[in-house]
Point group: C2
């Protein structure tokens, strides 16, 4: 059904080139923001006739069950299994969240990304212990039941692998994959657990204790050094994920949660917090998670993930369903705090319009942004650019690349451009 | 391990009788709030020795997978199947969220409560349509693909069946069950979908259109009348639940979301919005969801759920693990807006202490409250009492019962008292 020419709709308010409309259109009661404006735009309508009475209305449905699952028609909404390492894949195991198939900000637990250095252990929660020892007055050992009686905190935070988006960082030509492969090592959950501060204070950290080595109860005993200040600030031992017990692949029965810090430091299957006076420089921190700069020097510790955004709708592998109205939608985040602003360009960076941010905007959590848009069916280069509360702005790919040795793929946070062809195909490009 | 007498811990600050401590203890940097205070309390410690090297550390773990599931050790964390209706159970089908096994505020999708009047239809999303018709200028029909292009909104809201907690309302003696059976027809999700306002404005509601009959695409064609004002305010057609497509038992592929309104009005498998000038008085609204008052008159439409709270930790069916420190934890909500205050009594209502509310406190969403507590091992009657932003306060059971005909079990929002025996057993009581 095309627009009804008899409708006198409000005039559309454009905010930038390429058909970007004002975010004010999304406000309740806005003159140009009403659904009436949509009546003036070509919107898709179902074409084929449907049966008078669908078959499923004529029979009794299924009864209630103990634990629900997604609709079988959604069976393709899965994490993408990523195996880019050849023989290294024997140790590493990765899967990415399909952000182009999700809306909102929470990642459902079944779709939270995975990066395992030695697989997901088949851990017995009754035999699992968390020790706090080293430079403390009173070493303490906890089991799960003990921690259940402690004060808890609930907070929504993203986790992002420091190697997220590595294909864009190092591939000479842009890979044509969805947001699951390209940016899927990123998820967002409501976590609940015990503040590390409470546990460290009970143990009594000695004045010389400045660092803590966190160790996982998995085959590689993944270990990372963390400044005591972060642990005394907002860190917690997460026991629950979106309400229920933390999932096996996210560290069941407990993981470290360091809001904003790179993923692998949030040690899964956490079993030991060893208070020391200096970093341990473990293989996992020196050998695997160090960035080499353009001048050949290495950055030993890059804790917080940089400010970043990705348009998820539309995004690569999608096809536009004809010209007309769309809502551009995406996610933005920063390890340094809250997202302050997201701008969108539909003309390759010539002009930018500010997107609407979904409230509540929470620090170190995914923020959903949206902007109304009229696509004319012309070739279009879409980009999003996020700014966080510290004023940091997402770089272009070329300025990001200039900072590092060509081999580096860690902490890649460049702008993601999507090229839309006149036929409506959406492609990953470097621009 | 008992408390170490050599530790000089801060003095505990009590806030009310029965061992209730001040919520200020939970604040970062609080003098009495530090973990050091816990060192002065008897806290449980793991008793038995554990193996030097757990077996699971000696072997490679499982690899990444497409869609994750809870740990097999958590197999008992299920929705409770509730079948209280005898032969009526052929049509009705219910399951309750196990809030006593959850923390945080989000309900994971697999554990969202269910109330089906004719079962969960095996609906083909490609054959499903949403019609807007009746007193409108331009009747419109949408399929799922069409709605995907519309502006969307994301919001976290609870849903509560108006019959939630019905065992407490009508059973002559308090039933000894967990929070899944007693209060489980309540869940909380982040929903994403298209504002109904946008769709109604595009269709153009005629001046005489004051009500909308919403109809579900299931066997009983469940239908409810809704004032146009609510639909033009904060209502939306939800397509996503905690990020992923809405689950079959919550209305896949779309349901109505009326923030704060009683559950069944949030029509699942939504297929029709019929604009009318008066309510339809369907069987589902007049026959099933009308409260009979003590004076014999009936209340036809009670839209918003009342202010309410439940302590989930500890709660009925649990056993305390010995005297000492605990954190009392629970959930509070109101269909009228935000929760303003939750008070807790540990002496049967003699004295009350204000609980800490977990930020962000969102309107018409579950709010987690917490209060530190030292249980001395004595008989204790625990209660929580919520107050919302409108000043409404949760009633006692006897004052709630006095308002209604004895048969009424709808909109029960009375205070839930838990009796703790000296042996640590937690029981449901009327008090």
């Amino acid at each position: 059904m095309m627009a009804d020419p008899s409708v006198s709709a409000p005039k559309l308010e454009f905010a930038a080139g390429g058909g970007l409309l004002s975010r004010r259109m999304l406000l309740r009661g806005a003159a140009a923001g009403s659904g009436a404006a949509l009546a003036a735009l070509a919107m898709p309508r179902p074409a084929q006739a449907e049966p008078a009475l669908p078959e499923w209305v004529t029979v009794a449905g299924e009864r209630a069950r103990g634990y629900g699952m997604p609709a079988e028609q959604e069976a393709d909404v899965q994490r993408a299994i990523i195996e880019p390492f050849g023989d290294l894949a024997r140790a590493f195991s990765l899967s990415g969240t399909p952000h182009h198939k999700l809306r909102g900000t929470i990642t459902p637990n079944g779709l939270h990304f995975e990066v395992h250095h030695g697989g997901r252990p088949n851990l017995d929660p009754d035999g699992h212990r968390l020790m706090i020892h080293g430079m403390v007055e009173r070493p303490i050992k906890f089991d799960l039941n003990a921690l259940e009686r402690y004060p808890m905190v609930t907070a929504t935070h993203f986790l992002e692998c420091s190697g997220n988006s590595f294909f864009n960082a190092v591939m000479p030509e842009p890979m044509q994959s969805g947001c699951d492969m390209l940016h899927g090592l990123l998820s967002n959950s409501e976590w609940t657990g015990v503040p590390v501060r409470v546990l460290l204070e009970e143990a009594g950290v000695r004045p010389e204790g400045r660092w803590v080595l966190a160790v996982g109860n998995d085959a590689p005993s993944l270990a990372r050094s963390i400044p005591v200040e972060k642990l005394m600030d907002d860190a917690f031992v997460a026991l629950y994920q979106n309400g229920e017990r933390i999932r096996p692949e996210q560290g069941y029965p407990m993981r470290l949660l360091l809001p904003g810090f790179e993923g692998n430091m949030n040690v899964k299957w956490l079993t030991s917090l060893w208070v020391t006076d200096a970093p341990a420089y473990t293989k996992h921190e020196s050998g695997e998670y160090t960035e080499i700069l353009a001048n050949g020097s290495s950055v030993k510790f890059t804790f917080a993930m940089g400010v970043k955004s990705v348009i998820t709708h539309p995004s690569a592998t999608m096809t536009m369903s004809g010209p007309g109205f769309y809502e551009i939608s995406g996610i933005a985040w920063s390890g340094a705090g809250s997202v302050r602003k997201v701008e969108i360009s539909a003309d390759g960076g010539e002009s930018w319009a500010e997107a609407a941010l979904q409230e509540p905007v929470l620090p170190r959590a995914l923020t959903r942004f949206r902007l109304p848009w009229r696509w004319e069916g012309a070739p279009t280069l879409l980009m999003s650019r996020a700014e966080d509360a510290t004023g940091a702005v997402q770089p272009t790919r070329s300025s990001w690349k200039a900072r590092y040795d060509p081999s580096n793929f860690l902490h890649y946070n460049a702008i993601q451009p999507w090229q839309i062809t006149p036929e409506g195909s959406v492609q990953n490009v470097y621009a």
